[in-house]
């Protein structure tokens, strides 16, 4: 009998995942991954309710239930990474790092070491051997967050709810199984931060200095900010620079601690037909130059046609500027796309298949 370890978060998706696998005749073990969470003042363990919800479902399904403790690793691999990236002026995506390092790294390894043949998660995605495929439901598809996993991990993973079309369908099926999480609300935001804002979270770890908010076109100082790292390219809210038309962040200079804004959405650098990404990751094979692929710059963003060209080491080298890293590539977009903040990911698809992607430099 094939033994499957299911990552159970206490939410409806992973609950149904476990139930479906039991129904399909697998030997299922439920696992709650205890990741790092920040303690709110006076409140010890915000994760406890989720753990209890997951365990209640496991008991209902009459399957074993374990807790894998990844708190230390999660803090180092995901949280510290996120803080470091913000400090460097970039806008990272901790969920992508969590999947790469924790769920399809540590969890997979720990499960296999514990006797699992396969793992399963409640992601809206599908797989075919080592190929990762988009979910049946384009609106729910979560492959944007999964592009940094390895093909070898995909080959060991089942995504039982990747074929579900709507969340209502998932909830209805969960209710049919009598799962107590069937109507549980969806989790929101970055899980380990809880209810505080990312800004308040970062403030505890990073020392920031106030600086100028500068209008790009005029060079006029419009106001002050409390730390350039809190500002993300394209951001509209929270600039506090007076009424009228909204201002957007169109750039920042971490060294000068200046944030550049503009009212003009056609401002220089706001729309791009080329995006350079580095830290490339391919699930199986890299894309080939000249072929048309589809790319996505945000979770749930529409797919855009693009071709790729790899940047060779030392190409375009200009004196005094660092060479473009050899593991970067240029995406040539069929239609201009609103520029993406450095640190964000661009994911490359070949039809249904997720090839991989990279991080905007």
């Amino acid at each position: 009998m094939t033994k499957v370890y299911v990552g159970m978060s206490g939410g409806v998706d992973s609950s149904l995942t476990a139930a479906l696998l039991v129904q399909q005749g697998y030997e299922v073990v439920g696992v709650y991954m205890k990741n790092w969470t920040q303690d709110a003042p006076g409140m010890q363990c915000p994760w406890a309710e989720d753990l209890a919800d997951a365990k209640r479902v496991a008991v209902h399904l009459n399957i074993p239930f374990k807790v894998f403790d990844f708190q230390t690793e999660y803090k180092q691999l995901v949280v510290d990474y996120m803080i470091r990236e913000y400090q460097a002026g970039r806008t990272p995506n901790p969920d992508i790092m969590c999947n790469q390092e924790v769920k399809f790294g540590l969890f997979l390894q720990a499960a296999l070491a514990d006797g699992a043949d396969l793992i399963a998660t409640g992601h809206y995605a599908r797989s075919d051997g080592s190929k990762l495929l988009r979910a049946a439901n384009e609106d729910k598809d979560q492959t944007y967050f999964l592009y940094r996993v390895d093909g070898s991990a995909v080959a060991k993973t089942i995504f039982p709810i990747g074929n579900y079309k709507t969340k209502d369908e998932v909830r209805a099926k969960a209710a049919e199984f009598g799962l107590s999480t069937a109507s549980k609300h969806d989790s929101q935001g970055i899980c380990f931060i809880g209810t505080v804002s990312i800004r308040d979270f970062l403030k505890q770890y990073v020392k920031t200095e106030p600086g100028d908010i500068v209008e790009r076109e005029s060079g006029r100082v419009l106001g002050r900010h409390d730390g350039a790292l809190f500002y993300t390219f394209g951001q509209r809210h929270g600039l506090n620079v007076g009424g009228g038309l909204p201002y957007y962040v169109v750039g920042k200079d971490m060294a000068k601690n200046e944030v550049y804004v503009s009212r003009n959405l056609n401002s220089q650098g706001f729309w791009l037909d080329e995006i350079v990404v580095g830290q490339l990751h391919w699930i199986n094979q890299p894309p080939i130059e000249g072929k048309t692929y589809q790319i996505r710059t945000r979770h749930r963003a529409p797919l855009i046609d693009a071709t790729v060209s790899f940047v060779q080491p030392n190409q375009n080298k200009v004196d005094g500027e660092p060479a473009v890293s050899p593991d970067s590539l240029v995406l040539h977009l069929s239609t201009p796309e609103r520029a993406v903040a450095p640190g964000q990911s661009v994911v490359i698809y070949d039809g249904d298949e997720v090839l991989g992607g990279g991080i905007v430099v």
Binding site: K34, Q44, C45, W47, A48, E49, L51, A52, K55, R56, V59, H60, P64, F65, K66, V67, F68, D69
Partner: protein, 382 residues
């Protein structure tokens, strides 16, 4: 559903609800207002307070109504000027407050009793308050409050002789004792006592702190000076009325209720001991609440048993409700010297006014069945 978690919360008695109802709407007045309708509400609150006072052998002016036991405990422990001595099996609100004040936490033996000589030496001249729970919420073990009061009195006498001016008070959290034990503050020998309406068929978020006349506490909440200046804010009229009614009912039926609960507990205990060979009953046979039966089956996951019983229509607890939610081993069971396996495999059954012999008969069988089924899973939490 068979509800056997009365130590966590009790259903409000219909008679309590009926007593409270008029004060939500028709008799909504602020008791401090000058017109007659408000004065009548003021009088009803006074009558209720008097009734609460009478049940514990106190005067009305010694009853401070709070928003529950946690607040009462915070007021008592934070209100004194000096260090706090308490025990390792107290409620989180006691331990957290004591810890914040740099208190001393005394160990207990396997029956939940503190060593009186250790207590004596822990009460240095810096100590202003000793806080010991009357009935342990998890096991039902009863502390000998009177014996502790005698030690406290000895030290008080000694301080007086030596000219040490710091007062020394004894506080007990009697939340689990209402309707089960004698609550007379003079017989107990306590200076401060916490009670909780939500544990005796009254409303939640209503409690009281008995403060013996002459004791000066520092309030947590200041403002209009209500509750003898110790707890400002417009009186919780419905809460006070409901609390008094709940305590009157609990006290008037206490004798017969204790006998009935003891029989139920015995029925449950005998059945479980007979059908679960490796069961361990966590109790103090000589002094235990008749409402609570705590047992351990080493190697079985208590939380799984709770979830599985819930699916079969029986509601029980493992550890204390809070501890289970935190995924932590109960500090109380650990302090009582239970092994990790015994603590993890512990179940608390707490009976109450609405528990019947039929309930216990059905629940006993289901508990035995579920414990046996869940054995195969062992304890798998990391």
């Amino acid at each position: 559903m068979i509800y056997l978690d009365n130590a966590a919360a009790t259903p409000m008695d219909q008679r309590v609800l009926t007593a409270m109802m008029p004060y939500f709407s028709d008799e909504f007045y602020n008791p401090s207002a000058a017109y007659l309708a408000a004065r009548r509400v003021h009088d009803d609150v006074a009558t209720a307070r008097h009734s609460l006072a009478k049940i514990i052998g106190a005067k009305s002016a010694e009853i401070i109504i709070t928003a529950g036991a946690t607040e009462s405990i915070n007021l008592a422990l934070n209100g004194v000027d000096g260090a706090v001595v308490t025990t390792a099996i107290e409620h989180d609100s006691v331990l957290a407050t004591a810890k914040a004040r740099g208190g001393v936490v005394l160990p207990v033996n396997s029956l939940g009793q503190i060593d009186l000589e250790s207590l004596r030496s822990a009460i240095t001249d810096q100590v202003a308050l000793v806080s010991v729970g009357y009935v342990n919420s998890e096991t039902g073990m009863i502390q000998d409050i009177r014996a502790i009061a005698d030690v406290v009195q000895d030290i008080r006498d000694d301080r007086r002789q030596r000219g040490v001016e710091r007062p020394l008070y004894l506080h007990t959290d009697a939340s689990q004792a209402a309707g089960v034990l004698d609550l007379n503050v003079s017989r107990l020998g306590v200076d401060l006592m916490t009670l909780n309406a939500g544990k005796c068929y009254g409303p939640k978020q209503v409690g009281l702190l008995y403060v013996r006349a002459g004791i000066r506490l520092k309030p947590l909440i200041i403002g209009g000076g209500q509750e003898m200046g110790l707890r400002s804010g417009t009186e919780n009229v419905t809460g006070i009325i409901g609390f008094a009614k709940a305590m009157e009912l609990a006290e008037s039926t206490r004798g017969s209720e204790v006998k009935r609960l003891a029989a139920l507990r015995n029925q449950l205990k005998s059945y479980l001991v007979q059908h679960i060979p490796d069961i361990k009953i966590n109790e103090n046979q000589r002094r235990n609440s008749p409402a609570i039966l705590n047992f351990s089956v080493a190697g079985v996951d208590g939380e799984r048993v709770v979830f599985a019983l819930d699916e079969r229509g029986v509601q029980v607890a493992t550890g204390s409700a809070c501890a289970a939610n935190k995924g932590l081993r109960s500090h109380i069971l650990v302090a009582l010297g239970l092994s990790n396996a015994e603590a993890d495999g512990s179940i608390r059954v707490s009976m109450g006014r609405f528990t019947t012999s039929e309930d216990i008969e059905a629940a006993s069988q289901l508990i035995v069945e579920v414990v046996s089924e869940q054995r195969k899973f062992g304890v798998m939490d990391a």
